[in-house]
Subunit: 364 residues, 2 copies
């Protein structure tokens, strides 16, 4: 399928959880499949922190498909012959939706650190506006992993009648200090990098030579996306130093992997967006705005599929299980699946074969 | 007890595992208790990466005792009324023993990046030289945690007749890529910090304003010393930002903890030593120099006490258990204790009450 990004522009105000207002704002998004006349075949896919709205298919001339291409497409688990799939770049990101390096009205200067903090609640409110503008007022399903899973859950809590089903993977009910600490490495490394200039860098300044602070922070990120066992399997104690083991800067294979991936990343992702999206992850707490987590969860009316991965060291299975236990006590309509995987948190991106059947059945 | 640091100077060559030679070299150390005439009451204590030879007691005018003061002293588990306890600063450290910022002979310039890589095998060989110079050729026990536990195990393997007993805590048989990855954050953050000047900074340059690269790396270190559960207990989702939750740089309590501890640390620890000691941890592998891990472990003749901590996310209990299984199959004299703890890797420093009985009995 031929894929292109659309951008929706809103001149109405978006009221944020902080009390601040975003106006105007834009959201970049992609769609796959066709919208039924009755508009009752819509599946919303939510992306993770460094993901984008490019969830499936190939751009013209591109070789790398969207991040969940294995799951979304004709005859795939999220079948685009049946469903109209939409994926929207989250507020605060750097892939086309309004974020900290977007131009603020009326100065037309980038917001930079004046951009308001956005939360998962804000992200989904914006997405709901976009769907409304397309005449879509009810969804068949909402699905996502990690920050995407948080969005799916938040939709279920904040708008109980909006979707028939939510499928949340590798997420949590509230971000724990363990994850906040991993984000802390990145935010400190970015802020303390002289080239970050306290946010006053030229937009796109790091395309040639990535921001080292972001690369360093991303190493910590990659630790949290893998797991001790997955690293054993993938890298072991393999050594790739050319001058032997006793060379100070000789590298083990795990070190080379970290360098390669993080240096590349720091060229393509905006550090300011990283700060804002990390903040959105840190502030995620389903109970905020409600009397208790129990009350928040109790609001969910959608059929809920919860999927966790055994080796997830960022959002541990017991966190998803906690939601499942609550829904069970409330006799809510849910299923919980703890998948065996050696891929750590990344499993929601790479272990599609293991959960596609669950997704397929949930959508039938 | 009144404590003072001694320094032993060696003009003989130390042959390193790399084939390189260190000559001359110095080792800083402390002793507690009195050496028996027969010299058969010696307990060697080995310190961890950022520790020092100041394991117990108070310096004159100081208020903070040595790092294992709860374990070492009169009538304590390592009873200084009975034992002569010695703790030696490891090679490569910055607390008085020869390290990368020491003056090389004959130029009298700091070695900097010309300092040879030192390994755990080298560290213990140097310590054995120091003991010899004191006329000590046999030990009652060797005890340590983390890098200190690695030293204890390496002593047991390399010098099977040297100690009657070894007690190793919170260590492993070979460092896994998970731990190497955590070290990678620190080594990259140090190297990429402009003020590090590729090792050409003035010695002590960071006493006033710590090296930010080391502070950032240390955040990753602190993550690995704690655990998800210990962070829940200690910090939860407590927020300490003064301007409310929606302030981009407002901090959760876990973040404040990380900032406070790591900024302080970056003023007192030398970044070059950090690089060398992280390398020593990364290269630790009991089987190196032997045909297999099995063969290495089989060499141990000392009664061996292995202690791991349930919440240790740096060196997982199953790693110590692996050593125990091997010793069990070989019918070697060992005991293995997996302690309940919510303190993560740090448990070997703070949960003394939980393991002091084991240590006391082992030394009787």
């Amino acid at each position: 399928m031929k894929i292109e990004t659309k951008v929706a522009k809103f001149t109405t105000a978006l009221y944020l959880e902080s009390g601040r207002i975003l106006e105007p704002y834009e959201l970049a998004y992609e769609t796959y499949g066709s919208l039924d006349e009755s508009k009752d075949n819509v599946v919303l896919v939510c992306h993770a922190l460094t993901g984008s709205h490019h969830a499936a298919g190939l751009y013209e001339g591109d070789r790398k498909p969207g991040w969940w291409d294995g799951l979304i497409g004709d005859s795939k688990a999220i079948d685009t012959q049946k469903h109209f799939v939409i994926c929207i770049n989250v507020l605060g990101s750097c892939h086309g939706s309004t974020g900290p390096m977007s131009e603020a009205y009326p100065s037309m200067e980038p917001y930079r650190l004046k951009f308001p903090v956005v939360t998962v609640k804000d992200m989904i409110r914006a997405q709901k506006q976009l769907l409304s503008s397309l005449g879509i007022h009810h969804l068949k399903a909402i699905i996502g992993g990690s920050l995407g899973g948080m969005q799916a859950l938040q939709f279920g809590v904040d708008y109980p009648n909006f979707a028939d089903r939510i499928i949340a993977m590798a997420a949590t009910y509230a971000t724990r200090p363990w994850t906040i600490a991993f984000n802390k490495v990145a935010t400190e490394a970015i802020r303390r990098d002289a080239r970050f200039e306290n946010g006053n860098y030229v937009k796109g300044a790091f395309v040639e030579e990535g921001l080292q602070g972001l690369a360093i922070g991303r190493i910590a990120g990659h630790i949290s996306y893998l797991s001790p066992d997955s690293m054993d399997d993938k890298f072991g104690r393999n050594y790739v130093g050319t001058d032997g083991l006793f060379e100070l800067f000789g590298r083990y294979e795990i070190e080379r992997y970290m360098e390669y991936n993080t240096n590349n990343f720091s060229r393509v992702f905006d550090p300011m967006s990283y700060l804002y999206l990390a903040k959105a992850v840190n502030t995620f707490n389903l109970s905020r705005g409600y009397d208790s987590l129990h009350e928040a969860i109790l609001r969910i009316k959608a059929e809920t599929t919860l999927i966790s991965f055994k080796g997830d060291y960022l959002f541990f299975p017991k966190e998803m299980e906690h939601i499942a236990h609550m829904m069970d006590r409330n006799s809510q309509d849910y299923s919980y699946h703890e998948m065996d995987s050696n891929y750590g948190h990344d499993a929601f991106l790479v272990e599609i074969k293991k959960f596609e059947k669950i997704v397929k059945e949930a959508l039938q």
